[in-house]
Symmetry: C2
Subunit: 212 residues, 2 copies
């Protein structure tokens, strides 16, 4: 079975063909060694996916359909300390179909994140690789707990053991929250007996919430 | 709060102090800038953890206790295609407290894994970082499905959606299993609507199984 590549082409889509970027066209022809007429799938990252064929720097559109989101989850996390781990986190959450990622500003956290462009390129690559129909939104500016809508749950040891009913999960920095940084009435969720890095906690939380 | 480092020191432990390796002693003194008398925790990777203090190239032992395993899970997975992803997978599974990792030999998989020494060093680092009491076992030789004890469940699209009652989860290669490679009566578990990379599937499966 020949591998059929999946590419993200931004909306709006008009006419019978979609323009590929120079980078996409080169990747398909030089790296994947595809020729005109080879099959390709495509998405606008907003739920539409189609099956088409490669043309000259374009995709010739074919059957298209609308696909629902895998989850409606938002993840609000202190940034992992280094860029490799940030990349891994972004990729994995995009693969798992998370709707929105926000970076949390905390007193003990590192609070440095990769550039918006870099992060977007990670999301794009993960979406293409996992054949997704939705691009994960990553909010570029750091947020604080005060910015969040009520109903979020924070992963903290000593909290509830059962999977909570929430669509927004908060992961603190590896050093933990500062004294009084977490509101006393915050809903706390204990992910298990082992100490997890930020990115592991985020992935584990999403997997558990998506399993509800 | 000063960070208290956690180190793995192999059993058997005899006498009131435990020898540190040259690398460990140097890391504690040069990188973490610790001095004699500073607090340190330690484990044999077999469930015993202790609270001691740093001596001259040794740990002076203090209170010790026995800790149970977080899970009794085995993960049998096709190796991720590149070493970065293999490292992440090994680290994350070690953090999550997986008991044993085995690499699966498949017809469409890459079947190349990092050296046994390299993998052990990743497990060690993840165990120290996550303050674990148990070292994850990584079986060095590739295994086949025939080598497994009955009762394993394989992650496959189109399988059961509910979390299975198993202690051994199998993850196939990204290209999928070959025709007839999976026994017809294999128990299949569908992890969700999105296509996951090997390492993401393994972490998500473990998080879900551990949440039972």
């Amino acid at each position: 079975m020949k591998h059929v590549p999946h590419v993200v082409v931004g909306a709006p889509w008009e006419g019978p063909s979609l323009n590929l970027s120079v980078v996409q066209a080169r990747h398909l022809s030089k790296v994947l060694r595809m020729s005109r007429g080879d099959k390709v799938t495509y998405t606008d990252g907003l739920g539409t996916v189609g099956k088409g064929v490669l043309g000259q720097h374009v995709i010739e559109r074919g059957d298209e359909e609308q696909v629902g989101r895998a989850t409606r989850l938002s993840v609000v996390t202190a940034p992992p300390a280094n860029k490799d781990r940030q990349r891994f986190l972004v990729e994995k959450l995009a693969e798992l179909g998370v709707e929105r990622l926000m970076w949390l500003d905390t007193r003990h956290g590192k609070n440095r994140v990769a550039s918006e462009f870099k992060i977007f390129s990670w999301v794009l690559a993960a979406t293409e690789q996992s054949r997704g129909a939705w691009l994960m939104e990553v909010v570029p500016d750091l947020v604080t707990l005060d910015d969040l809508e009520p109903g979020w749950v924070v992963c903290e040891r000593g909290g509830e053991r059962s999977t909570p009913d929430t669509d927004t999960v908060v992961i603190g920095p590896e050093g933990g929250f500062a004294d009084n940084e977490l509101p006393e009435d915050a809903l706390r969720w204990d992910l298990g007996p082992t100490l997890l890095r930020v990115e592991t906690a985020a992935i584990a939380a999403v997997a558990k919430l998506a399993a509800r």
